[in-house]
C-alpha cells in the first residue's frame, strides 16, 4: 500500500505531530553551510504543477534537493496538457518513469485524489487542489505557530483561531480548519456572507466551525488570525461589490487587531494583496509570522517527502 498526503482531513492529532516533529528536525539542515543531507539519495520526485505557483513549487523543489532526491519540475505551460492530454495520461506517463513521489497542484478539486486512485507505485502529495485542500501549507502554518507558542510555554492546543476573508475559495483555510479541529482548537470563519456562507458551520461536521460576518466580532479574543488572499477577479463574479467596499469592511489592520485581539499573531499564506485583505502595518509588524511561514515551508516539505519516500520502500529497513 502506497502512502499519499492528499489532505489534512482524516489525519489524527498524532499523525499531525509526527509531520511537525519531523519537520522541526529538518529546520536545522537549512541553516547549515552545506544545506544537504543524503537521506533521499536515489529517490525521484516529480513536481507536476497544472497551475502556476512560485513559493510552493520552489519550496518543494528546494526541499527535495536538500534531501538529495532527484527533482523534476513540470508546469502546465510546458507540459503535454497544453497539447490536450488528459490528467490520467499525464500522471500515468510520469509514473512509468518510476518516480517515488508525485507532487501535484491542480486547479480542480479532487484531482490528486483521482490521480492517487489510478497510480499504483508513486506516492501523491497534494500541493493544492482547487478550493479543496493544501495540506503542506497547513502543516507549515502549524509549525510556525508551534515555534511561536512553545517558547512561551504554550502549545498548539487550546487556541482560538480565525480565518478571515475569502474562505469559500480557500484551500488553505480548509486544510488549516481540519488541522485545528484535530487539535481541538476553537475555529471561526469570518467574512461577508457571499464568501463565508453559513453552510460552513456544518461542512466540517455539524456545528464545528463558527461563522461570523462582522470583522470585529470575529476577531474578538483570537490567538491566531489567518488572513486569506482575496482573488481580485471575485468582484466580476458578484461575490463582492468592489474591492474598496470589501477592504473597508474586512481589511485586517493593526488598529482593529489592537482593539479586538491585542495578543494575536497573524498568518497569511501569500501572495498578499496589501490594503485589500491585510494592511501593510500588520504584514510587516511585530505580530506577523508571514516570513517564518515561508521559511518553514522547506522544512515541512522535506518532512513530507522523507516520510512518504521512506514508507514507500519498507525493505530499506532490512538492508541496513
Amino acid at each position: 500500500m502506497v502512502d499519499h498526503l492528499l489532505g489534512i482531513e482524516g489525519l489524527s492529532k498524532s499523525e499531525i505531530y509526527r509531520y511537525l516533529d519531523t519537520a522541526q528536525s529538518f529546520v536545522e539542515v537549512s541553516e547549515r553551510d552545506i544545506k544537504k543531507v543524503p537521506t533521499l539519495r536515489g529517490k525521484t520526485v516529480i513536481h507536476v504543477f497544472f497551475e502556476p505557483s512560485t513559493r510552493t513549487l520552489s519550496s518543494f523543489d528546494i526541499a527535495g534537493k536538500r534531501l538529495s532526491a532527484d527533482t523534476i519540475n513540470i508546469s502546465s505551460s510546458s507540459s503535454s496538457v497544453k497539447k490536450g492530454e488528459t490528467l490520467l495520461d499525464t500522471v500515468r506517463t510520469l509514473e512509468s518513469m518510476n518516480p517515488d513521489v508525485l507532487v501535484m497542484r491542480h486547479s480542480e478539486s479532487g484531482s490528486p485524489h483521482f490521480a492517487a486512485r489510478h497510480l499504483s507505485r508513486a506516492s501523491v502529495v497534494n500541493a493544492g487542489d482547487g478550493a479543496h485542500e493544501h495540506p503542506t501549507q497547513a502543516l507549515l502554518d502549524l509549525l510556525t505557530l508551534r515555534q511561536h507558542f512553545e517558547p512561551k510555554g504554550l502549545g498548539l492546543e487550546g487556541l482560538k483561531v480565525g480565518f478571515i476573508g475569502d474562505v469559500r475559495h480557500s484551500r488553505v483555510a480548509r486544510s488549516n480548519i481540519w488541522a485545528h479541529l484535530a487539535l481541538g482548537n476553537d475555529v471561526r470563519v469570518v467574512g461577508p456572507s457571499t464568501l463565508v456562507p453559513h453552510e460552513f458551520a456544518d461542512s466540517f461536521g455539524s456545528g464545528r466551525v463558527k461563522v461570523i460576518h462582522d470583522l470585529e466580532q470575529g476577531l474578538e479574543g483570537l490567538d491566531v488570525v489567518v488572513c486569506l488572499r482575496m482573488q481580485l477577479e471575485r468582484q466580476d463574479e458578484h461575490f463582492i461589490p468592489n474591492l474598496d467596499e470589501y477592504s473597508k469592511e474586512y481589511c485586517v489592520s493593526e488598529r482593529v487587531l489592537a482593539k479586538c485581539c491585542p495578543q494575536s499573531v497573524v498568518l497569511h499564506p501569500g501572495p498578499m494583496n496589501r490594503g485589500t485583505e491585510i494592511s501593510g502595518d500588520v504584514a510587516d509588524g511585530p505580530r506577523s509570522l508571514i516570513r517564518q511561514q515561508v521559511n518553514n515551508g522547506v522544512a515541512v516539505r522535506m518532512a513530507v517527502l522523507y516520510l512518504l519516500a521512506r514508507t514507500a520502500e519498507p525493505h530499506e529497513e532490512y538492508e541496513r
Binding site: L87, E108, S109, G110, S111, H113, F114, G130, E199
Partner: protein
C-alpha cells in the same frame, strides 16, 4: 408489424393503474394486440399459442421512459439507437422517448425520420423522438414544430440547455398548444447554477466543488409554471430534484395549470454524499441532493404530484468520465436499473406496487398524451412481465449500452424484467434478448 403466434401470459398478477386492476388475470395476445384479459382458467384454449408462465410474477403494461439519450446520430461510440433500444427492453421498457441533443440536434424531419428508421431496424423498444424547442437547441429561433410532429416527434425539448429566453418559451408554448404536444423542460437558471458540479451544500463547500443550488432549478420551474398558466400550454418538468420544485408543481396542479413532471430514480436512491470521493459516476444534472429534498420527492410520489419516473439514461464513454470531477461528463445509465430500483423501493414499502406501475406506465403516457401505458382489450400488446423477487448482481457484463457509466454496477438489485412483448412480439425472453 408482422403477424406472430398468439401468446398467452398465464398465472401472473396483472397490475394496471389505468384500469385499476391488481390481481390474477391471464392475457391473450393476438395480432399484436391484447385480445382478451380473463380470470385464471377462463381463456379459451389456444393450442398453437406460445405460453408464458408468469407464476409469482407481475404482469404490467410495458414501461415508458420519457427521458433517454441515445446519442445517435453523432456520438455513436457512447450509444446507438440499437443498443439503447435493446437496453430498454432488457430493463422492461417498451417505449422510450429520446432527447434531441444529438449531433445534429433533432430539429428537422430528416433527423426525426433517421431516428425512427434506425429504431425500426433495431426491433426492440419503440423509440419516440423528442424534437428540439429551438434550432440547434440554441434558444434563439423556434424549431419547425409541425414538420417535426408530422415526422413523429411526441414532445419538444432543448434537453440540457434550458430555454433562457422567456419570450421564446412563451411563443413555443403557444405554438405547441395548437399541436397538443408538451414542452419537456430541463429547469436550470444558468446564472444561478454557474457551472456548479454538485449540489450546493456544506458538503460542496467541504470538497471545494462549485455548488449548484437547488434554487437554480426552482426559479425556472416557477417561471415555466407561470408561462403555462398564461399560455395554457403544456409543460412537462424533467427530473425534478428539489422538495421546493415538487411543492411548486403541487400548487400549480391544484390551480389547474397544465403541468406534469418526472423524477429520476437516482435522485431517490442516491444522495449527494456519493460525490464525497469525487466519483464522476455520481455527477449528474440536476445534481444528487440531500435528505430534505429526497423526502420532498418521495412526498410527491406518494401524493400524486409526480406523474412519471424517467431514467434520464445518459450513456458516456469511459474516457469522458475518467477525468477531473468538474470536467467530467454529466449523467449515468438508467434504462436497465430504473425498474429494479423501483421494485426495491416497493419491497421496502416506500411506494405501493400499483403506484409504481402508474409512475412507469400510465403516468408517463398521460404526460406525453400517448395511448399506451395500460392493458385493455384492443391495446397494443406492449407488456412487461417482471419477476419481483429475483435478486441479482448488476455487473458491467449485464450492461447492454455501449457505455458503462453506472454507479449501480456491483450493486445487488431486486426484480428483473423476465419477458417483454412489444406489439405482441416477444423481445425479451427469460431475462435475455429474444433471438
Amino acid at each position: 408489424m408482422s403477424i406472430h403466434r398468439p401468446v398467452v401470459i398465464e398465472n401472473g398478477t396483472l397490475i394496471d393503474s389505468a384500469t385499476d386492476r391488481e390481481g390474477a388475470f391471464d392475457i391473450l395476445v393476438e395480432g399484436g394486440r391484447v385480445a382478451a384479459i380473463e380470470k385464471p382458467g377462463a381463456l379459451k384454449a389456444h393450442a398453437d399459442a406460445e405460453r408464458i408462465d408468469a407464476k409469482g410474477q407481475w404482469v404490467i403494461p410495458g414501461c415508458i421512459d420519457l427521458h433517454v439519450h441515445l446519442r445517435e446520430p453523432g456520438e455513436e461510440w457512447k450509444e446507438t439507437i440499437q443498443t439503447g433500444a435493446e437496453a430498454a427492453v432488457l430493463g422492461g421498457y417498451t417505449s422510450i422517448c429520446c432527447m434531441p441533443n444529438t449531433k445534429p440536434a433533432n430539429d428537422s424531419a430528416e433527423v426525426t425520420r433517421f431516428i425512427i428508421e434506425k429504431a425500426k431496424a433495431a426491433a426492440a423498444a419503440r423509440v419516440l423522438p423528442i424534437g428540439a424547442i429551438s434550432m440547434e437547441r440554441k434558444g434563439k429561433q423556434l424549431a419547425p414544430y409541425n414538420e417535426l410532429a408530422k415526422a413523429g416527434c411526441v414532445a419538444f425539448s432543448d434537453d440540457g440547455d434550458p430555454v433562457a429566453d422567456a419570450g421564446l418559451m412563451r411563443r413555443a408554448l403557444e405554438w405547441c398548444l395548437m399541436l397538443g404536444l408538451p414542452l419537456s423542460c430541463h429547469e436550470e437558471d444558468r446564472n444561478l447554477s454557474c457551472g456548479g458540479s454538485m449540489n450546493e451544500s456544506p458538503l460542496s463547500l467541504k470538497l471545494g466543488l462549485k455548488g449548484f443550488p437547488g434554487v437554480a432549478e426552482d426559479v425556472m420551474i416557477a417561471r415555466d409554471i407561470e408561462l403555462a398558466r398564461f399560455t395554457k400550454g403544456k409543460v412537462h418538468i424533467c427530473h425534478v430534484s428539489t422538495a421546493r420544485g415538487i411543492e411548486l408543481i403541487r400548487r400549480a396542479k391544484n390551480d389547474g395549470i397544465n403541468v406534469t413532471c418526472e423524477v429520476a430514480p437516482h435522485h431517490l436512491v442516491l444522495d449527494e454524499g456519493c460525490c464525497a470521493g469525487y466519483d464522476t459516476n455520481c455527477k449528474m444534472m440536476p445534481p444528487l441532493k440531500g435528505h430534505e429534498d429526497i423526502e420532498g420527492l418521495f412526498a410527491g410520489i406518494s401524493d400524486g404530484t409526480v406523474d412519471a419516473i424517467a431514467s434520464d439514461h445518459a450513456p458516456h464513454d469511459r474516457d469522458s468520465k475518467l477525468v477531473e470531477f468538474s470536467r467530467a461528463t454529466v449523467g449515468i445509465l438508467g434504462l436497465q436499473t430504473s425498474l429494479p430500483l423501483f421494485v426495491e423501493l416497493c419491497s421496502k414499502g416506500k411506494v405501493s406496487r400499483k403506484r409504481m406501475v402508474e409512475l412507469l406506465c400510465h403516468g408517463p403516457a398521460k404526460s406525453f398524451g400517448l395511448s399506451s401505458g395500460t392493458l385493455r382489450v384492443g391495446s397494443d400488446a406492449d407488456i412487461t412481465v417482471l419477476d419481483p423477487s429475483v435478486r441479482w448482481q448488476f455487473t458491467s457484463d449485464d450492461v447492454r449500452s455501449k457505455s458503462k457509466n453506472s454507479p449501480f454496477i456491483g450493486r445487488e438489485l431486486t426484480g428483473k424484467a423476465a419477458n417483454v412483448l412489444v406489439g405482441g412480439r416477444r423481445v425479451v425472453s427469460n431475462g435475455a434478448l429474444a433471438g
